[in-house]
Subunit: 226 residues, 2 copies
């Protein structure tokens, strides 16, 4: 990857994710370029990427704004993830090698360990969780499926809330991974699909519950600015 273009991408993304920029805020190329310390060229490049991830929306006259994600939109994203990751798991079940199963077990072992520490090490949880899901996606063997899902998985809003998971939810996630591994060992596509789909849907409800608190925080922050 290129240097300046990635700096711009990460910087702008972080500004949106962290809440430094609020939904609906206008995104001028010039201003962002200065903020990122690069020229407009890589900024435009980065904005094109972020637009693809629906973090930025463009008006009909090509002006850019921070996208506003309603709870419905987020629900839609989870629904699609559940469906597509379910498909990935289904495909993976009949293709996965013993070696890859061992890798999944290793990832989930570390997830279990991260959960066991007090307080739970959420960063390790997220990282190993990411590896776990990515490997399944790779084993599924569909470049297109991977492309589609990557735009859904990288949702930073969701990332942010993972830190609000309760110990019970972390444990549940760990157990579901274990069950998924069992389905892979049996080579049962339907079972794998069912577990994965449920896994994502449960994550949505965990998110949704936590979100009420976040919504209040966001409202506070907005008020503070005004």
């Amino acid at each position: 990857m290129s240097r300046a273009s990635d700096i711009a991408y990460e910087t702008i993304r972080e500004m949106i994710v962290s809440g430094e920029l609020l939904p609906g805020d206008p995104l001028g190329e010039e201003a962002l370029a200065e903020k990122c310390g690069v020229s407009r060229t890589p900024v435009r490049d980065a904005m094109r990427r972020l637009e693809g991830e629906l973090l930025i929306r463009r008006s009909e006259s090509q002006r850019s704004f921070v996208a506003d994600w309603s709870l419905d939109d987020i629900g839609d994203a989870f629904e699609l993830r559940a469906m597509l990751e379910g498909l990935a798991a289904q495909r993976a079940a009949s293709r996965i090698s013993p070696a890859d199963i061992r890798k999944l077990e290793a990832y989930n072992k570390r997830i279990g360990e991260a959960n066991a520490s007090t307080p739970a090490d959420v960063d390790v949880f997220l990282e190993e969780n990411r590896k776990f899901h990515t490997l399944i996606l790779d084993v599924a063997g569909s470049a297109r499926l991977k492309t589609l899902l990557q735009t859904l998985i990288e949702q930073p809003i969701i990332w942010r809330t993972a830190h609000h998971y309760s110990p019970h939810e972390l444990l549940r996630s760990y157990q579901e991974h274990d069950e998924l591994i069992a389905a892979f060992k049996r080579g049962d596509p339907a079972w794998a699909e069912a577990i994965m789909s449920g896994h994502i849907r449960r994550a949505f409800h965990a998110y949704s519950d936590a979100h009420h608190g976040l919504a209040i925080l966001d409202a506070e922050r907005s008020k503070k600015r005004a």
Copy 2:
């Protein structure tokens, strides 16, 4: 949309779709810029878009090539379309208004008329077919679903083969649309989902059958060049 950037996009896309460029051919920015009559800036823009549609692949060193679509890849794309358009139909079934149902009927009426002429007016068929599916997608009311599907629907390789549909296949498509409308009138999401999913899957097999002939043509053309 912007002028030069769209010219570049359409031109490059057409070169790939028409077969003027073959899978694996390198795509230099400079050369394409000259070919399109614009500078490298809009070409880069266009290439970023085409990369998102997986029509172009990039090497690790950022060089671009025409993507090679195996029959498996195309099958994957259809599988995803079947799933996602099925979801769209399912969602649409419980939201669609009588006015939109009338629109769908109007579109399909014109599809029937296009099929009835001899020879069948494939351009009208494709256009009304596009409107039909787009309306359902809009009624489904998920921006994200729409975004994901648009990258799948615009597959030019598929477009090209629509011209090879037999009269029987055109008729079948028309009938399936009718059945879908019936499902919408009853407000039956599961029925709508089933029909739509089958509709797309049938299209894949029609494509797959026609593709054998095309594969031979492509092979001939490649040999001719060498």
